[in-house]
Symmetry: C2
Subunit: 238 residues, 2 copies
């Protein structure tokens, strides 16, 4: 079951629990594919739903009707758009092959009311050279590396090696999009990647420093943490 | 000065008045290019700002800085993106050559959280024949006609003749867009056009009936009034 929408901290999980109870008539266990920070969005999100303390949902509702039926019980910022039966062994977090995130930056002087809360507004113009430097810096993030320089300082995760499969920057009009896929992400990793790339764009960090920042294994060497509102979990692949 | 954003009834005007007072330090007169219904949006909107009971704004702020400076004093759902000096004779409503509206319909079974409050959600699939009929019906609206069948029943406007310059339907994925330009619009005209076209799409109104509905000059002959949230004032041309 994939859920796009505006993720608001723990309340997404809570809302799904409430909706499942309304729909099936009993308490359910909901397990998600990743944590969802407050203010962050998801175009795609995967959860398993099972009957509490048992494995399977018992219901007379055909599986093809579940998305619409469950969406009916959810608030307007969460919707279910697909549902399928899975084997008992399937785990929405441990079975992820890779995830893709998008980070959207609005690069124009005046903010856009239609993109409020959905982009990071950076008013200062990113020039052609800055944009090319951003692209080069993004490409340097690809590979299997220890990304501890790009992990929130208060995170206690021990294994900080991840494989980044792709890291690309696009510009369409006023919108700059950073798209990154990896086998896993450290806490705040995409937001710190983005903050660093924007500092590269504005000449505050040199492209040539990116490898040194990675090798330093020190959060203080990387750029700022971009705000949550530009971040979208875009794809979850099993 | 053009203002896009989510127009919320009288409050847009009120917010502009407050922002102008903060920015210039005295009470201002704000005159807009059209009325804004609650729930309706604007990608472009034009107002004149003048000092109350006098003609011109007196300020040391350069005109190029006005959009950002005034946006600073506006709530997040209103922004100013351009400002220019105009002659005293210019009137934002009377001098309009034509206006273009867009109406957006989300045509898929499950709603989209990111388009909540920004489209009319029509879950029942519009098939290829229905879509072609919608296009044919839209084309029949073009021309200089008495559109009183497409005016809110409680409107008291006497001259109900308007010239529709273009009326087109597009489909991109799940999104059906109706785009219409005219020298002026009667109250609820675009929303009643849309409601009628959707009834044509679903086979409730025959394409061949459109000319008869126009000629009837009777609101009861046309389709329903589409909800406000799909409507966007898109362009105002002088």
């Amino acid at each position: 079951m994939r859920i796009p929408g505006t993720a608001k901290g723990v309340s997404v999980q809570q809302r799904l629990n409430e909706a499942a109870k309304q729909l099936f008539g009993y308490d359910c266990d909901i397990v998600g594919c990743s944590r969802t920070d407050s203010g962050v969005h998801a175009n795609e999100f995967c959860v398993t739903v099972s009957k509490k303390k048992e494995s399977f949902i018992e219901t007379s509702i055909p599986i093809s009707r579940i998305p619409q039926a469950m969406s009916h019980w959810l608030p307007s910022d969460i919707a279910v758009f697909a549902a399928e039966e899975v084997d008992d062994s399937f785990h929405p977090r441990y079975d992820v092959k890779y995830k893709e995130y998008e980070y959207k930056i609005l690069n124009r002087q005046v903010r856009d009311p239609f993109l409020e809360g959905r982009v990071w507004h950076c008013p200062k113009q990113i020039d052609e050279e800055g944009f090319e430097n951003m692209k080069r810096a993004a490409a340097m993030l690809v590979g299997r590396k220890d990304f501890s320089s790009f992990m929130a300082a208060d995170s206690t995760v021990k294994d900080t090696v991840r494989e980044v499969f792709s890291a690309e920057i696009e510009r369409e009009g006023d919108l700059v999009t950073f798209r990154v896929s990896a086998d896993g992400f450290l806490y705040n990793m995409v937001r710190i990647f983005t903050g660093t790339l924007v500092e590269v764009a504005y000449g505050k960090i040199a492209v040539e420093d990116i490898p040194h920042i990675i090798e330093a294994h020190d959060r203080r060497r990387a750029g700022c943490t971009a705000p949550p509102e530009g971040l979208y979990l875009n794809r979850v692949v099993y």
